[in-house]
């Protein structure tokens, strides 16, 4: 029983890390009809920004003198701003020039952008090919119930993930800017005629989406304890797959898809003898299954014929 509860907890944690990424894919696809394939790498940049800012604190000797919650807040805030603007910069330089081109062009440029981001970190970060230890920025407490250990930092990661995703949802559905984003996704020219400045709205979408990725990077780093330059590749593919399984462009779908992937991976590792090395194989078989038999995903209404 203890084991079963533990397995469910791990599956939920894994799912929440996938959901953070897949909601970003959903935002970009649902709002402006593009698949941003370097989204996972932007998340990786968020994790590295966390390490670097924490390192700066250590370098200036502020750690120990400043309360640790403040350090954590500053890391979140600085990453928020840094990655938000970086994401907008990527949109301006790499994605905007292809706004009127076929979707395939954006697909290729975002894949290329992902490679550039990964390789830059590998080359320019000191010993960038090696795994980097992610600092313990969340409180390391735990409480035990019999044989079960509940970790406070895991609980926080889970809660912050839910909070971030809910904010995103409310922003898109309840604010005027959110309405503008949705208007652009339906018909960009009509939206322009209604007085919406599509350039600014798209920039805002990228700002928000990249913030989400950056913070996801910090949370994933905290959960996995080490990060490497290439975590964004698999993370991105998993997040995208989760979005596809749930129904690309649908918020609830992204969450449901992440749960499906997270549970399949965790439970194959735990309950199928010798299944651990093949957990990704099982997960992607499910993805292929959905693409073949229900391309619209679990909750999606229209088939994503555009990609």
């Amino acid at each position: 029983m203890t084991q079963f509860i533990e397995q469910i907890m791990f599956a939920l944690m894994l799912s929440s890390t996938y959901a953070l990424i897949s909601v970003g894919f959903t935002l970009f696809f649902g709002a402006i009809n593009i698949v941003h394939f370097s989204h996972g790498d932007v998340a990786m940049l968020g994790a590295f920004s966390g390490i670097i800012i924490y390192g700066l604190f250590g370098f200036t000797g502020l750690i120990g003198n400043v309360p640790s919650w403040l350090v954590t807040m500053i890391i979140f805030l600085a990453t928020f701003i840094l990655i938000g603007f970086l994401g907008t910069f990527f949109e301006r330089t790499v994605i905007k020039p292809f706004r009127k081109s076929p979707l395939l062009m954006v697909l290729v440029t975002t894949i290329a952008l992902g490679i550039v981001i990964r390789e830059s970190v590998r080359l320019f970060y000191p010993q960038g090919s090696n795994p980097q230890v992610f600092p313990k920025i969340l409180p390391q407490m735990n409480f035990e119930a019999g044989n079960l250990i509940f970790r406070f930092d895991h609980l926080l990661i889970f809660l912050i993930s839910i909070l971030l995703i809910s904010f995103m949802f409310l922003f898109i559905n309840r604010t005027k800017t959110g309405l503008a984003i949705r208007a652009i996704s339906q018909d960009i020219e009509a939206a322009n005629l209604m007085g919406i400045n599509s350039d600014i709205i798209i920039a805002i979408t990228f700002f928000i989406g990249s913030i989400l990725a950056g913070l996801a990077g910090i949370l994933i780093g905290s959960y996995q304890t080490v990060v490497r330059f290439d975590i964004g590749l698999m993370g991105g593919i998993k997040g995208f797959s989760a979005a596809v399984v749930g129904g690309l462009g649908n918020f609830y779908g992204a969450i449901v898809g992440s749960l499906v992937l997270g549970f399949i991976e965790s439970l194959t590792s735990a309950y199928i003898p010798g299944g651990a090395p093949y957990k990704d194989v099982f997960a992607f078989i499910i993805v292929i299954f959905f693409l073949v038999f229900k391309p619209s995903g679990i909750l999606g209404r229209m088939a994503p014929i555009k990609i």
Partner: protein, 391 residues
């Protein structure tokens, strides 16, 4: 005409000079030249370890020539295999066809070694490995010419079983291994080693290299009743340290163990406090104050001696010691002598088993104490001040 004569004289002089240079007997008339071959990766991705090994071998040659006890002048013939089997075979053939080469010390990469053993066997030239850990190098064909002075995975795991099962008495094991060829080699070595020593294996889980979330597997092991005392990991540092971090998260108090794949300070740097009490079979320990390191530094080599330098040094010394006994001419006799030697050097006592594999190779027992690998006997665990987890 005069010009032509003087030119002729110059040419003749040069020719005579060349003759002198080519024939070492002129300079040390009483000493016969004996060549010892060295092949290793001097270029390519493994160049650092290759150069360290070459310097180690070169140091042994220099010392032997300085001592001058033997009626031979030794020379190290250095060739590059670039970690590539084809280049390695070409280098091996070049060595074997030189009649002055008495024996050779070779290779860091097992695939290169698996290709060149046949060449050395065909020419009957003794070949000793200073690197390359694949068991098949010695065990598959068991060529009389081939020996290995560095430990292979079988030797490492036998030593692990002797210590953890024989000395500490931990008999209940769970095994995790990565699916790389190294991880599978470890699995193939650990199972017979620990079962022979009387252990029971409770579980066996493979993981893909690059996995970061081991919690599902660990939770499964945690649920096994009775609980295994030992969790063994066959793989390398990154995954190894993550497993230990997550074991601590889950409150698992098993002894965590492995072999030389974990022997890097990166393990401690990554796992931090969680590393405490991990016990491994580590590589040979060559201290800063050892005569080898002092001589190496005094010789002024540009490159660091790496983990491989001491093995190549020991290997050349052992070959020279064998030549001292039976001379360099009869290579069959030399190969036989090498296999039967009981050599005392910087790696302790080197003796070969029936396959030409060293029985110890200077392996050490190390334990992680305060985020550092310490030799068991120097640690507070070894002295009984702290106790190893798992009981």
């Amino acid at each position: 005409m005069k010009k032509f004569e003087s030119l002729l004289i110059v040419v003749l002089l040069i020719l005579v000079g060349l003759l002198f240079i080519d024939s070492p007997t002129v300079f040390s008339a009483e000493k016969k030249l004996v060549k010892i071959g060295f092949i290793g990766p001097l270029t390519g991705p493994n160049a650092a370890v290759g150069l360290g090994a070459r310097n180690g071998g070169d140091l042994a040659i220099r010392q032997a020539n300085e001592k001058g006890e033997l009626p031979y002048k030794f020379e190290l013939v250095v060739l590059d295999d670039a970690s590539d089997p084809t280049t390695g075979v070409a280098a091996a053939t070049k060595l074997c066809t030189d009649p002055l080469v008495a024996a050779a010390t070779t290779h860091f990469n097992s695939p290169v070694g698996l290709a060149t053993i046949h060449v050395f066997h065909r020419y009957g030239v003794p070949q000793m490995f200073w690197g390359g850990i694949h068991p098949d190098i010695t065990n598959k064909y068991n060529y009389p010419e081939v020996t290995r002075i560095c430990p292979n995975t079988l030797v490492e795991h036998n030593n692990l079983a002797i210590f953890v099962i024989g000395k500490l008495g931990y008999k209940d094991w769970s095994i995790i291994y990565d699916m790389s060829s190294y991880g599978k080699n470890c699995l193939d070595a650990v199972k017979p080693a620990v079962t022979k020593a009387g252990a029971r294996i409770f579980s066996e889980d493979g993981i893909a290299v690059g996995t970061v979330d081991f919690r599902p597997i660990l939770s499964k092991i945690k649920a096994i009743k009775p609980a295994p005392q030992v969790i063994y990991f066959g793989g390398v540092v990154t995954e190894a340290s993550l497993i230990k971090i997550q074991m601590n998260e889950l409150g698992m108090k098993n002894l965590y163990t492995g072999v030389t794949g974990l022997d890097s300070e990166t393990f401690n740097a990554t796992a931090k406090e969680a590393a405490e009490g991990t016990l491994i079979i580590g590589k040979a320990h060559i201290g800063e104050s050892s005569p080898f390191v002092k001589a190496y530094k005094a010789a002024g080599y540009k490159e660091y001696y790496e983990a491989t330098g001491p093995y190549a040094y020991e290997s050349v010394n052992l070959i020279i010691d064998a030549i001292k006994k039976v001379g360099p001419e009869d290579k069959k006799k030399l190969a036989k002598t090498i296999r039967e030697m009981e050599y005392r050097g910087i790696l302790g006592i080197t003796q070969f088993d029936e396959f030409g594999q060293t029985l110890s190779g200077g392996l050490t027992v190390k334990v992680s104490q305060d985020k550092k690998w310490l030799l068991w006997e120097d640690s507070e665990y070894g002295k009984g001040k702290r106790s190893i987890p798992g009981k």
